[in-house]
Amino acid sequence: MSELTIFNYTTLILDLGTIVMLIGLLMVTNVLRQRGRADDKLFFYMVIIAMVIAGSDIVGYLADGKSFFGAPFVQQAGMQVFYLTFTLEAMVWTYYADVRFKGWHMNYSILRKVIFYIPGFILLTTIFINSFNGCIFYVSEENVYYRGPLFIPMYVVIVFYFIWGFATMTRYRNAGTGRSLIPLWIYFMPIILGVVVTFILGSTSLAPVGIAVSIMFTHLGSMNEITDTEYEEGEV
């Protein structure tokens, strides 16, 4: 613990706080999952994946630069899991948006769906084989993390899926009742901020907490939608 830097503490606190918030969210959404709907199940998986992202982030970031036995392996494994689950989260989010907001209007063929997710599956495979060729990131013998040549393309694919999910949410919600709905930036901003700040600064990982905050806002916005009727009782 004496080797922990200031930003290690910050990342640890943020990721632990993320896990606590997501556990709370699972407790709060427990009753809704009893409906057995597909979108509720997908939301559950999204929360679980987000918790794994936060957990692997803790492992990867804390092991960076440390000198304990097996530290390079721990960092490599932590960051591999981090990027795999991060990509998976983006893909599941897009699918969740399709099911939740298009639902029964989903008339796409299976072929179309497969083609849409091909970049994601290629990315997952690339992250997996990164263990052997360091194309996305690599860990030096001194246990220092370095970005590889495919680091930026990886983020392009991940951000593409998140943007597509948000665009789906906006398009199909706005096409419904015509009411002024919750602004897109509520869902978009935390995750994009988290990804951009982590990408630029790299000192503290804000991506997991950005994802968790976006998931929280998605849930709250959905709950708002299904209770969005005029309140007719007067004030006390």
């Binding site: 910050t10 407790m27 709060v28 009753v31 409906r35 709250l220 005029e230 006390v236």
Partner: protein
């Protein structure tokens, strides 16, 4: 990048933690503000609580910047900022007490009657906070150019957190008596806030988890409120009767295309929760179940053919028979009725027709 590298790491760490809290709270304020079915007074108090935590977060970042001497200030201004910080935290405690009492009694009458118990201690604290600007009551500026706490500071903490815990316990007990504790689980608010407070004291000064813990707690609290006021039936997890009008709007706007309607009537049976578990397993994905009455479930489906509908009904009947074999002392008696869409009839007309027959509209 060069600007960021000029900022001490401690200030950056404080900024990251508190900015997450601020983003979370801004989102909660906006989402709560835009929600339709909410009590306006409750909304106002809740937003005030969130705003106070935002102020707290900003003050923490400022304090860290001052501690790292990025911002050279006269010591009286530093003390004034610390006093403001204390006032904001005390203000949050008052807001929380008011919120808890408003939820319990739908008004402020109880708090007004017990103002000497609830509000007087905080007004005394406010007077002492103001006096701290001139005398070292809770905090003082030391020779090492840092702010320190006096022995009386612990008393302020005891009063603050003691009242917050008491209000939380009162609210929990009240909700349990009212039968809504299932939706209002105090752990979802109290645990993050308490964890944040404990970590705040145990970690270095630039790791400020109190505002983050309170922000997470408030966000989860809003999620609980949304659950409570949603169209969700507490016993079964299905939509409740008040969802009917919302569903009618979705159908009229063609967001949902009704092909058939099934009605499952348990005829006074008490094991509705068990029946709903059976129904959840047997219903296809595109169905929308709504609990119309205590023993009546309405199920909408997009399919406009008899064969799939009969298959679902047969599966449900078989599952009910299996259940009755295992629970012979308390069997279920289920009647299943259905209505298909007629030729040239719209989904909305079918829905309206069924609801009128069931006297649900």
């Amino acid at each position: 990048m060069s600007f960021v590298s000029m900022i001490p790491d401690e200030v950056l760490a404080s900024f990251y933690l508190n900015s997450i809290a601020i983003v979370l709270l801004v989102g909660v304020i906006v989402l709560y503000g835009r929600a339709g079915r909410r009590d306006k007074t409750e909304k106002r108090i809740f937003s005030d609580m969130a705003l106070l935590i935002i102020l707290l977060s900003v003050s923490y970042v400022f304090e860290t910047a001052v501690s790292e001497q990025i911002v050279p200030l006269h010591y009286k201004i530093i003390i004034a900022e610390e006093v403001l910080h204390d006032i904001v935290l005390n203000g949050f405690c008052i807001a929380w007490i008011l919120y808890a009492n408003y939820r319990m009694y739908k008004g402020f009458g109880y708090v007004k009657r017990k103002k000497w118990l609830y509000l007087a201690p905080f007004f005394i604290l406010l007077v002492l906070n103001m006096a701290n600007m001139f005398f070292p009551v809770f905090r003082y500026y030391g020779d090492d150019m840092k702010v320190h706490d006096t022995a009386l500071f612990i008393l302020q903490d005891i009063i603050r957190y003691g009242y917050m815990v008491v209000a939380a316990v009162q609210l929990y007990k009240h909700n349990k008596e009212e039968g809504s504790s299932r939706f209002f689980n105090m752990i979802t608010f109290v645990f993050p806030a308490a964890a944040g407070a404990v970590l705040h004291d145990l970690t270095p000064y630039y790791i400020q988890t109190l505002s983050l813990g309170m922000a997470v707690g408030l966000a989860l609290l809003y999620a609980e409120i949304a659950n409570e006021q949603s169209f969700c039936d507490r016993e079964t997890g299905f939509f409740d009767r008040s969802y009917v009008e919302h569903m009618a709007e979705l159908i009229s706007n063609k967001k949902y295309d009704v092909g058939n309607v099934m009605v499952f009537d348990l005829e006074g049976s008490e094991n509705i929760a068990d029946f709903c578990k059976i129904l959840k397993k047997q219903l296809p994905v595109d169905c929308e179940p709504i609990r119309l009455k205590k023993d009546e479930i309405l199920v909408l489906s997009t399919v406009n053919e008899k064969a799939p509908l009969f298959m679902v009904a047969e599966d449900v009947k078989m599952s009910v028979e299996e259940y009755n074999e295992k629970n012979s002392e308390n069997p279920m008696d289920v009647k299943i009725r259905y209505q298909l869409k007629k030729k040239k009839e719209s989904g909305y007309e079918l829905f309206d027709r069924v609801l009128k027959r069931l006297n649900a509209r």
